[in-house]
Structure formats: structure tokens, C-alpha cells
């Protein structure tokens, strides 16, 4: 211990941390001089776009980076000991004991061929010096605390026998089982549904408060930060650009990057819709040396000094610090670029307001092939009686947990799979935009050929006409014509999604089905795509079906919302009404699970996360399908099926008790 250092209560004191990846193509400076402190019991969130070095920084703390990652320099003082100077052997006494770690992907973070007991018990025995029986009892009690039902039995399960949410609970139990002083959680809820995310976040909050452990919580979701953190650090290009108490950061962000990030989030208040802020350009290549401020190429406030000298993290009062030459960042300039979105112009004539998609009592059942010929094959009822209408120019948002049938509806609409029963009428044509920008295009085709494919297949126009049309489409999605002869691999994720939109619009479809079109994109790019969709909707009066698990985005972009649960629509109505005043208990739960990027508002909300998980669609309950998780369920609900019924003039809902 260094006697000269002033005695502080800081649990963890990181100073000037540098981490590099020594790749064949050059040294990636993933963490480039990060310093911060965490006090006992404090929850610190680290936010930033992917690639900003969040994970690299977190893994550096315990030297968990695999080759070619290497902590190059810096001090990592945990309770006064510099972890960076410990040997592997000494560090192994810290890992798991003083610092617990939770990783992003619960599906791959547990050893698949080892029982939970064999993964949990030995570390407890080793770190706490308990006997096997005691350690086992301890492990079971932790599993119990994280909400694993029947923990004494489930401890003998293999990971594959559990859902993603359950596995993440096991990870948490494991990370906390040796009573660490600090917990590092690297995007622990990113792979999970909102409802499960809310459960996990609540759990982490409770347990760390109970045990007094401090926490580093890495995320790219600013809403979660507001719900969860005491302090926030914003990372950009391997550096902390802003650090401070959560309320202060949200109320008065000082760094242009933080300010822009906050403005890219769709507002909760839907009364006046403004365009989302966009951050132009891309993060810098971290293999190249940076002179001046790393954010300068994307910053609206950049000036000469920014190009010459890099700003350091300087205090801004109240424990708040930012690394920018402008004391207030973009300051008042922040709001100016964001234009109000004009309301949709009313239709010129009645024909313009016609219904373009009508779905009546749609069913889709998947029958898996039975393993033995004489056994009845199990049937999955993915879509179980859905009726919907979409008017011209209207955007319908479909939300629900993963596995509720959203994507199946999309495929049925597009005619990619045949329906089991029910009708779909489409006035015109349905086209699509998919989630995964990397598999959406044939890698062997140029963008020109990709966009003109629908035209060629349907025999539209002459060669010259098609070329003109492709140019026009590229213009509409905001891409330069010079892209025409490139290949998809040469584009970024956001650009690919623009191409997907251009292809979908080529034949002037009446409806475009977009299945999670922004989920694979980073926040700043996501805002660009959402703005583009809003523009196209205004300009072309094309209808959209927008499917997403991101409720904020859906409610921002949609006119109507349909909430799905187990293959059924349980609530339907105008977006702002459904979002602000949900009628169905499931919608209520779903919306309260969505974190709002406003710490004050988050504090005021009552957090009652929906318990349980989506039941298997293999054997649907007789009564209300939501009854197993509904806080208001009665015996009547469990025996009587409820169908979608008018709730108010504009809305429909499927609940016996939604009056």
C-alpha cells in the first residue's frame, strides 16, 4: 500500500489505463488513457457505441483479455492494491472473490457440458474456504435469491435446460456467490427481452444494495443507465469523454457526444414529434494515431483548437467532468437542428385513405416432424387468430417479447410462408426490410443489381428506365449514385439498411414490412434510419409495418400499435394512446419495463417487473393466454378465452377486466 496517497473511500481507483490489441494489421488502441473512481456500493454505468472500448476497459480491470489484448500501462487500485502489478496467481485470488463478473451472452457464458453445481460450488469452496456441503447450501441459497424456482433441484441442471433469462440469473448468482466488493457487468441484459431485462436489472440493483457491492455496468442503452446508475461514464474512441452523477449528466450533459447521444433517443413525450438528432460520420479507426479531439470530425462545435490538442477530462463542478474545449459543449446549439415533424397531411380524397392491408383471423401453426411415426407431432401455434387493417400511409407498429409471433406475421404478410388458415388481402404489393444487414444481400451482386432485381424479375421498364429508377431510389434513401457499382461488403451497417429500403421501394409497394430494421445498428445510426423512414412515410405515403422489441422507437414511428402475446393481438390502438395509457395488463407491464432515459422520471415510476417468462407456445392455456403471468388474473380468466373487443372508440383490447 502506498502510504503517501491521500486516504479516500474509493473502492476502485483506475488511473490512466491503456489497453492495446496487437493485431497483424496494427495496434488497436482500444483503451487510451481512462481514469475514474468508484466508491463502496456505487453503481457506475459506462455507455458508448460498440467499439468504443467499453468491454476492453472492463476486461482489462481483471486482465481477462485473451491474446492479442494486453493491458499496456495504468494503475488499477482495488482497495489500495494495484491489480495491474499482481501476478496471475495473486490475481486469481481477486477474480471471483473480490470482483465478480457477469457477461453479455448468457447462452454462451456457462459451460454447456457441466452441471450448474459443478460450475458454482468449487469457486465458493475455494474462495470462502467452505466444505462441499456448506458451499452447496450457499450456492443453492444464491440461486434461490436470484429467483431460480426449485433451486435445490435445478442446481443439478445443465445450462441448456434453462432459458436465457434463467442462465443470466445463474451467472449473477455465480458472480455474487463469493461476496465480491465489486461486480463488473458487461451488457448483462442486451441479449434479453425488455421484460426479462427489467427483472434482471431490478435483481442486480437489489442484490448489490443488499451486499453493499459496487458495480460497473456496461451498456449502450441510455434508458437503462437512467434507471440503474448512480454515476455515468461516457466512452468514445477508447477514452472517457464525460463522467458524473447520473442526474447531472442527463439534465446538463456537457460533452457534444453525450448531448448528441441523448438527442438520438426518441422522446417519450409524443405530443410534438421532432426529428431525431443524427451524429454524422463514423468513429475513428483506433489503429491510427489521433491528433486533437477524437470526436472532431463528427462534432458540430469543432474549432481550430480541437484539431490540434486533445482535451482532457476536466471538472465541471458537482463531481461532473467532461473532455471538451467548450465548457457547455454544443450548449444552446443542441436543439436547433432538430426540426418539428409536420403532422401527416390529410388525405386529398377518400381513395387515398383506403385500407391497403386487411388480415382476417390469421393462423399459422408449425407442425414439427414427430420423432416416431406413430406419435402425434407437437404443434406450435405461432400465430393464433389475428385480424388487422392498415390504411394507406399508416404505420403499424407490432411489439411483443421474442417468440410471440411478430416475425411470423411479417413472413405471412410477405407471402413467404403459407398461412394455415385465415385471409390476407393486400391492395398492391408488400415488400420488406430485414434485421440483419449482413445477410440481406447477395454478396456477389453490385448494389445496382441488388436494387434493380425486383424491377428485372417483374419485367419493369427498359434497361435505361431501370437505371434511372435506381438513381432515383438511391437519392430517396440518401445515398450517392457512386455507390451503384459497389458490393454490399463495402458498406457500413447503416448504408446497407438504406440499400435494403431502396430495394423495398423499387416497385412502389403499398406496404413495406420492416422486421427489426434498426436492432443491429448503433444508436447514432439508428436515428438516421428512423429519420429516413419517417421522411419516406411523409413523402411517399407508403404504409409501413414496423416490428421491433424497442418500444420507444415503435411508439415514435408508428401511428397504430398492435401488442402481441403468444400469437394473439392483445391490444390495438393509436400509438400515443396505447403507450401513454395502456389498457391490457400485458401492455402495461411491457411499457413499465421499458427504461426511460430520464433519471427523475425513472425514480418516480413504480418498478413492478412482470414476473415469469413467455410460456411455450406448444400447449396454450385454455383461458386468457396471459393468465399465467397476469397480476390481475382470476379463475374466470383461466377458464374463459378473451377475444379482442373494442375498448374505446379507437382502441381494442383482449382482457376481461379492462374496462
Amino acid at each position: 500500500m502506498n502510504e503517501l496517497r491521500p486516504i479516500r473511500s474509493a473502492l476502485l481507483d483506475v488511473r490512466n489505463l491503456h489497453t492495446h490489441f496487437l493485431t497483424d494489421k496494427g495496434t488497436v488502441k482500444a483503451v487510451n488513457g481512462v481514469s475514474f473512481q468508484i466508491n463502496q456500493g456505487e453503481r457506475v454505468a459506462i455507455v458508448g457505441e460498440s467499439g468504443s472500448g467499453k468491454s476492453a476497459m472492463a476486461m482489462s480491470l481483471l486482465r481477462l483479455l485473451a491474446y492479442p489484448g494486453k493491458v499496456v500501462s495504468g494503475e488499477i487500485n482495488l482497495e489500495g492494491r494495484d491489480l495491474n502489478r499482481l501476478s496471475e496467481r495473486q490475481l486469481n485470488e481477486v477474480r471471483g472473490r473480490l470482483v465478480g463478473t457477469i457477461f453479455q451472452d448468457p447462452m454462451s457464458s456457462l459451460d454447456p457440458v457441466m452441471r450448474i453445481s459443478n460450475q458454482m460450488i468449487p469457486p465458493i469452496m475455494r474462495h470462502l474456504g467452505l466444505s462441499r456441503e456448506k458451499a452447496r447450501a450457499e450456492a443453492i441459497s444464491w440461486l434461490d435469491r436470484v429467483g431460480i424456482p426449485d433451486a435445490a433441484r435445478r442446481i443439478e441442471s445443465y445450462p441448456f435446460e434453462m432459458s436465457g433469462g434463467m442462465r443470466q440469473r445463474v451467472m449473477i448468482a455465480m458472480a455474487l456467490s463469493c461476496r465480491p466488493r465489486l461486480v463488473i457487468a458487461d451488457e448483462p441484459t442486451t441479449a434479453l427481452d425488455v421484460t426479462i431485462q427489467a427483472q434482471i436489472v431490478e435483481l442486480l440493483k437489489e442484490l448489490t444494495a443488499e451486499t453493499g457491492a459496487a458495480m460497473i455496468f456496461i451498456t449502450h442503452d441510455l434508458g437503462l443507465v437512467a434507471r440503474f446508475a448512480h454515476k455515468v461514464g461516457v466512452m468514445y474512441a477508447g477514452k472517457l469523454v464525460e463522467f458524473g452523477p447520473v442526474k447531472d449528466i442527463f439534465a446538463r450533459p456537457r460533452h457534444p457526444y453525450t448531448q448528441s447521444l441523448l438527442d438520438t433517443i426518441p422522446p417519450v413525450d409524443q405530443l410534438e414529434r421532432r426529428r431525431l438528432a443524427q451524429i454524422p460520420g463514423f468513429p475513428p479507426d483506433m489503429k491510427l494515431p489521433v491528433t486533437g479531439c477524437a470526436f472532431k470530425d463528427r462534432c458540430a462545435g469543432a474549432h481550430r483548437r480541437c484539431f490540434e490538442v486533445a482535451p482532457e477530462l476536466e471538472p465541471r463542478g458537482h463531481g461532473h467532468a467532461a473532455a471538451c474545449w467548450l465548457p457547455e459543449g454544443l450548449g444552446a446549439g443542441r436543439q436547433m437542428e432538430r426540426a418539428l415533424i409536420p403532422p401527416m397531411e390529410p388525405a386529398a380524397d377518400a381513395g387515398e385513405d383506403r385500407v391497403v392491408v386487411e388480415i382476417n383471423n390469421l393462423h399459422k401453426h408449425f407442425t414439427t416432424r414427430s420423432s416416431l411415426p406413430w406419435r402425434k407431432p407437437p404443434t406450435v401455434r405461432a400465430v393464433n387468430g389475428i385480424s388487422l387493417r392498415i390504411r394507406k400511409g399508416e404505420t403499424l407498429g407490432i411489439v411483443g417479447e421474442s417468440g410471440c409471433g411478430k416475425s411470423t406475421v411479417a413472413r405471412l404478410l410477405l407471402g413467404l410462408d403459407p398461412a394455415t388458415s385465415g385471409d390476407i388481402f393486400i391492395d398492391g404489393m408488400a415488400q420488406m426490410v430485414f434485421q440483419d444487414p449482413s445477410s440481406s444481400f447477395n454478396p456477389k451482386m453490385t448494389l445496382f443489381n441488388i436494387i434493380q432485381e425486383p424491377l428485372v424479375v417483374t419485367g419493369w421498364g427498359t434497361k435505361a428506365e431501370r437505371e434511372t429508377r435506381v438513381r432515383e431510389l438511391l437519392g430517396q434513401v440518401g445515398l450517392d449514385e457512386s455507390y451503384m457499382h459497389r458490393y454490399p461488403s463495402q458498406l457500413s451497417g447503416g448504408q446497407r439498411q438504406r440499400i435494403a429500403i431502396a430495394r423495398a421501394l423499387a416497385l412502389k409497394p403499398s406496404v413495406v414490412v420492416a422486421d427489426e430494421p434498426t436492432s443491429a445498428l448503433d444508436v447514432s445510426v439508428r436515428a438516421q434510419i428512423i429519420n429516413l423512414l419517417v421522411d419516406l412515410k411523409q413523402k411517399l405515403r407508403v404504409s409501413f409495418v414496423f416490428i421491433s422489441h424497442d418500444l420507444l422507437t415503435v411508439s415514435y414511428i408508428s401511428d397504430k400499435i398492435a401488442v402481441m402475446y403468444l400469437g394473439e393481438v392483445v391490444e390495438y390502438g393509436p400509438a400515443d394512446e396505447v403507450f401513454n395509457n395502456p389498457a391490457h395488463p400485458y401492455t402495461q407491464a411491457l411499457i413499465s419495463a421499458v427504461p426511460i432515459p430520464d433519471p427523475e422520471a425513472e425514480e418516480a415510476r413504480i418498478q413492478k417487473p412482470l414476473s415469469g417468462e413467455l410460456p411455450s407456445p406448444l400447449n396454450l392455456p385454455v383461458g386468457c393466454s396471459f393468465a399465467s403471468r397476469c397480476p390481475k388474473a382470476t379463475d374466470y380468466c383461466r377458464t374463459h378465452k378473451m377475444v379482442l373487443k373494442p375498448y374505446s372508440k379507437t382502441r381494442e383490447t383482449a382482457c376481461h377486466y379492462a374496462s
Binding site: L110, V113, Q119, F160, S371, L372
Partner: protein, 315 residues
């Protein structure tokens, strides 16, 4: 589990039936017929006809086929054409030699390649690719050396020049010492190709596992790298390795034919080449079916082992 085994057995049966049928009809495609091909020009027309009658070759093809299946069902493989010995007896007599070579090869291969591959993976994971590169390079060369050529070179060096191993001598189970000395070189030759290949696959599987998230989880709980290697990495990598060992049996069977021929070992491979050279089609047909069944049975077993040991596989 039972359901799965049942399904696999049905599939197995279909495959074996297909193999038998294929071999039977292909053999009947021989221009002329087996008898005249075998007999050459030495026999008169009448004598040939008599032989045909004896062997049922004058019956219609479907009848011949059913008769053949019927005899196979009771494991009656017939007799050799020239010496009239029961083929089953010959095969059973030759089997121990081939099995010793095969088992010896597998034993040697596993013994050397798994530790070697694991070490290479571990070093590569830490950023040291030296052993890794050596193994990959050597594996490629050894893997592509034609076994008959390698055999000759080894024979030249170790038997003829250095005299370490006898190049001839009777081989039987009654004299294990001699058996060992005679099969040592063939086993070495066959192992050379297999060791390199298996080491490379072990290296790939282990390296892949070392990059898995759960390895990082174990490290984050304070386990040392060696602990992680033995407790997690090897266990997970074992499954693909077992599969590859099973698959490499095909190569091994190919190889035994060649080494038995070169080192004049009285195994079933030698029976096969002998049968080919003396144009004993009955023998060749039976042996080919026999080889196919061994191969199918081994693949079946590997598959079951895989499934028994991988908790994720549900039946």
C-alpha cells in the same frame, strides 16, 4: 435415447441393405460372368456350365439376389472359388492381424496427438504460434504422403538398411512378440498420417473452446489457465475429437490394405488384394461388404458415444 437408437438402427439397416444390393448387382455387371473371368481359357464350355449350375448362376437374377440375401442372413458367405475354403473361416483367421494393426494405430495416434494438439492450442491461445505452425505444416505433409510410398521408404530405412524390424516372418497370435515386431512398422506408417491429422484437429477444437465465453467465465471466477484447460477446454473439445477419430477409420481401413500388402501381413486387406489378383469375385464381394459393415458399425458407435456424452443432445 431409445428412440434415437431405434431410428439410427433402421437407417443403418437400410444402408447395409443398400451396400449389399449395390455390391451384388455391380458384381453381376462384370462383362461375361465371374466364372469365365475366373477360369480364363482353361476350361471347356461344358465344364463352365456345370460350375455355373453349381453356383446358381443360371437362375434368374432376382432369384440369385434373394438366395444371396438369404445366405447372408445366416452369415453364410460361401466358399472361395479356387480353394473351396469357407470365406468366413478365412476372414476370421485374418481378422486378428488387421485388428491389431488398426488398434495399435489408434492407440499410438491418440497417445501422441492429443497432448501435442492441446499444447499447440494452448500456446497459440497465448499468442505463440510456433508449435502450431510446425504441426500444421507437418500435418499437411504427412497427411499427403501416399502410405504405400511411406511404407517403402520406412521398409528401406528401418528394415533393409538398419535392420530394426523383420521384413518377413510368420505372424500369428500365438507368438505375440513376433506379431508386435512385424506390425510395428505398419503401425508407425499408418500412425504418421493420423497423428498429424488428429493433432491438428485437437488443436483446432481446443483453441476454439479456449476462445469460448464460458472459459472466460471460469477465468473470472479465479481459476488458473491450466485448471480451465483441463476442466473445461478438454472436456468440451473431446466431442469433436471423438467424431474425427471415428471418421478417420475409413482412412485407416484404406491404409491397412496397403500396408498388409507391402509388409506381407496375412490380414483381410491381403485377402482382398489376393482375391483381386486371383479373380476370386466371391471373395472380393464378401470382403467389400464386410469392410463396409465394419465402417458403418464404427460410425454408428461413434455417433452413439457422442450422444451419450453430450448432455445437450436430446433424444
Amino acid at each position: 435415447m431409445l428412440t434415437y437408437s431405434f431410428k439410427r438402427l433402421v437407417q443403418l439397416f437400410v444402408t447395409v441393405l443398400g451396400v449389399v444390393t449395390l455390391v451384388f448387382f455391380t458384381m453381376r455387371l462384370i462383362p461375361g460372368d465371374p466364372i469365365s473371368a475366373m477360369a480364363g481359357d482353361n476350361l471347356s464350355g461344358a465344364a463352365l456350365d456345370q460350375m455355373r449350375g453349381q453356383m446358381g448362376l443360371n437362375d434368374p437374377l432376382p432369384v440369385q439376389y434373394l438366395t444371396y440375401l438369404g445366405r447372408l442372413a445366416v452369415l453364410d458367405f460361401g466358399t472361395t472359388v479356387t480353394t473351396k475354403l469357407p470365406i468366413v473361416g478365412l476372414i476370421l483367421g485374418a481378422l486378428p492381424v488387421t485388428v491389431s494393426i488398426a488398434l495399435g494405430t489408434i492407440f499410438l495416434t491418440v497417445l501422441i496427438s492429443i497432448p501435442l494438439g492441446t499444447l499447440a492450442a494452448y500456446m497459440a491461445h497465448k499468442g505463440n504460434r510456433m508449435l502450431d505452425n510446425i504441426i500444421t505444416g507437418v500435418a499437411m505433409v504427412l497427411d499427403l504422403m501416399p502410405p504405400f510410398w511411406t511404407s517403402l521408404v520406412c521398409l528401406l530405412i528401418f528394415s533393409l538398411t538398419l535392420g530394426w524390424f523383420p521384413a518377413s516372418g510368420t505372424v500369428s497370435l500365438d507368438d505375440p512378440a513376433m506379431l508386435l515386431r512385424r506390425i510395428a512398422l505398419p503401425v508407425l506408417v499408418l500412425s504418421m498420417a493420423q497423428i498429424a491429422t488428429l493433432a491438428r484437429i485437437t488443436r483446432t477444437s481446443v483453441l476454439e473452446v479456449l476462445n469460448e465465453d464460458y472459459v472466460r467465465t471460469a477465468r473470472s471466477m479465479g481459476w488458473s489457465e491450466l485448471h480451465v484447460l483441463f476442466r473445461h477446454a478438454l472436456k468440451n473439445a473431446a466431442l469433436p475429437i471423438v467424431t474425427v477419430i471415428g471418421l478417420s477409420f475409413g482412412n485407416l481401413l484404406n491404409g491397412t490394405v496397403i500396408v498388409e500388402f507391402i509388409f506381407t501381413l496375412p490380414g483381410i486387406g491381403n485377402l482382398l488384394v489376393g482375391g483381386m489378383n486371383s479373380r476370386d469375385y466371391q471373395m472380393v464381394q464378401t470382403l467389400i461388404v464386410f469392410y463396409a459393415m465394419i465402417f458403418v458399425a464404427i460410425n454408428f458407435t461413434t455417433d452413439l458415444i457422442y450422444r451419450v456424452f453430450d448432455p445437450r443432445v436430446q433424444f
